[in-house]
Symmetry: none
Subunit: 240 residues, 2 copies
DNA sequence: CACTTCATATAGCAACGCTATAGGTGCTAG
DNA sequence: CTAGCACCTATAGCGTTGCTATATGAAGTG
C-alpha cells in the first residue's frame, strides 16, 4: 500500500499526490486516496499542508520547476520570438502530457482568485518578450503581450485537453500561436520574413525613436518636455 | 424558503439553480441548496435531470439562449469581421457579468469531456466567419479560425474572471481579439498603421528603447533623469 | 527527571452527490 | 365509479468527500 516507507511522511504525501494527479484518469483525486497511498492518515496531511489545495500547490510548485526547466533549456536560440514559440509549444505539451496536474495549475478557476502559477508563467514569457522588444521585434509592451499570449496559450491548451484524444488537432495550437506572435511582432511581410536583420541596441532604438519623433511630432508630450526628451535621447544615442 | 410555489417543480429547480449560480460568491453550489430553495427534495432533481450536471446543462441551455440572443442581435452589421469582434466582446461581457454561470459553461474542464456548449459557441462563430470567408476576408478555413478564436476568447475570459475586479483590464481582451482577427484576416493592414502619420514606428521604437533601457541601465542619464525619461517613454508607447 | 514541542493516529463531524423504496397523484379503460 | 397504470414526489439513508477535536507517541531541553 504505502509505496515509499522510511521517507518522511511529508515527502511521501507529495509523491503520492503527484502520482495520483498524473495517473488518475477522469475523476478527481481525493485526500483519502492520497493518504492511503502515502501510508499516513488524514491529520498528517493537514498538519503539513493546511488543506488539500495546499498540498496541490506544493505538488504544483515541484511540477512547475519541471515545466520551467523545460522552458529555460530552450532559451538561448538567439531569436527571441522563436523562443516564444518554443515556450508556447512546451506549455501545450506539458498540459497534454499531464492534464490533471495542468488543470490544477491553470484550470482551477474561481472568480477573483488568481493561481500563483499564472503570474510565474507570465513573468517567464514577459522576460522573453522583453528580449524581443529590445531587438525591436514587437509592437506592444512586453507585459501586455505576455498576458495576451499566455491567455491564448491557456485557452488553447484547455480546449485541447477537453477534446477526445483521437480528435486532438495540434494545428489549433500552432495556428493560434502564430496568430498571436505575428500580431504582436513587427514583421511586415505576410508570407515571407522581413529581412530587417533586427539586432537593435539601446543606441539603435534611440536613434530610431529620435528620428520618428522629429518626423511626426508626438502630442503625448508638451513642447518643452519634448525638447528635453530629445536632448536626453541624443545623449543616449551618441554614447556608443 | 421555496420562492415560487405552484409552478412545476422542474421549473422551480431550474430557476433556483440559475439564481444560486448567478449569486453564489466564490464557493460552489450544492444540490441541497438548490432543492431547498426550490422547495423540493433530492429525488425530484434526479428524476428530471439525471444528475447535477444535467441540471446545470439545462440551466446553461437557458442561459445560452440569452447569450446567443445577445450575439444574434448584433449580427447584421454588413461587416462580418466587425461582427466577430462584437461576438468576442459579447462573450467576454457575458463571462464577466455572470462568472459562475460562465465557469459552469466553459470553465468546467475535465480531460476528454467537452462541454456541449463549446460546440455551439464554435458553430456560431464559424457561421459568422463563413460570411467573412465568402467575402474573401480571411485566409484560413472558417472552422479552424473559429476554433482558434474561441480558444483565445475563452482563455482571455477565464483569465479576466480570475483577476481581482479592480485589476481587470479589458485591454487584454481587445488586444487579443484584434490580434486573432488580424492574423486570420486578409487585411494588409500593417501598412495602414504606417499611414497613420508614422505614429506606429514611434511606438515601436519607444517600446524597444524602453525595454533596452530597463535591461541595461544606461549611465548616460542620472537616475532622476532616467526616471522621468522612462515616464515619458511610457506615455508615448502607450499612446495608441 | 519533568517539560515543552513537534508529529502522527483514533475517531468522527458535517456536507456532499446520489438512490432504493414507497406513497401519492391524475389519467384512461372497463 | 372503480381498477389499473403511469408519472411524479417524499422518506430515509448509503457511501464518500474535506476536514478536525482530541489524544498519544517521540524527541529535544532545562
Amino acid at each position: 500500500m504505502s509505496f515509499d516507507d522510511q521517507l518522511p511522511p511529508k515527502i511521501r504525501l507529495l509523491r503520492a499526490a503527484a502520482e495520483l494527479l498524473a495517473n488518475s484518469e477522469g475523476s478527481a483525486v481525493s485526500t483519502r486516496q492520497i493518504t492511503k497511498l502515502a501510508g499516513v492518515t488524514a491529520p498528517t496531511l493537514y498538519h503539513h499542508f493546511g488543506d488539500k489545495e495546499g498540498l496541490f500547490d506544493a505538488v504544483v510548485s515541484a511540477g512547475f520547476e519541471e515545466y520551467v526547466a523545460g522552458e529555460r533549456d530552450f532559451a538561448p536560440s538567439g531569436e527571441p520570438l522563436e523562443d516564444v514559440r518554443r515556450m508556447w509549444d512546451n506549455h501545450v505539451q506539458f498540459g497534454l502530457s499531464q492534464p490533471h496536474l495542468y488543470l490544477v495549475m491553470f484550470g482551477n478557476i474561481r472568480p477573483e482568485s488568481r493561481p500563483a502559477i499564472v503570474a510565474d508563467a507570465e513573468a517567464l514569457l514577459e522576460e522573453m518578450l522583453n528580449k524581443a522588444a529590445i531587438s525591436g521585434q514587437i509592437n506592444v509592451p512586453p507585459r501586455e503581450a505576455a498576458r495576451s499570449i499566455l491567455a491564448a496559450n491557456v485557452g488553447v491548451t484547455l480546449m485541447l485537453i477537453a477534446e477526445p484524444v483521437e480528435e486532438r488537432n495540434l494545428e489549433l495550437s500552432t495556428m493560434t500561436r502564430d496568430s498571436m506572435i505575428f500580431a504582436v511582432s513587427t514583421e511586415t511581410a505576410r508570407g515571407a520574413a522581413a529581412d530587417d536583420s533586427g539586432k537593435s541596441s539601446v543606441v539603435v532604438a534611440a536613434i530610431a525613436l529620435n528620428a520618428a519623433l522629429q518626423a511626426s511630432h508626438s502630442d503625448q508630450l508638451s513642447s518643452s518636455e519634448l525638447k528635453l526628451f530629445l536632448e536626453w535621447l541624443h545623449r543616449i544615442s551618441s554614447s556608443s
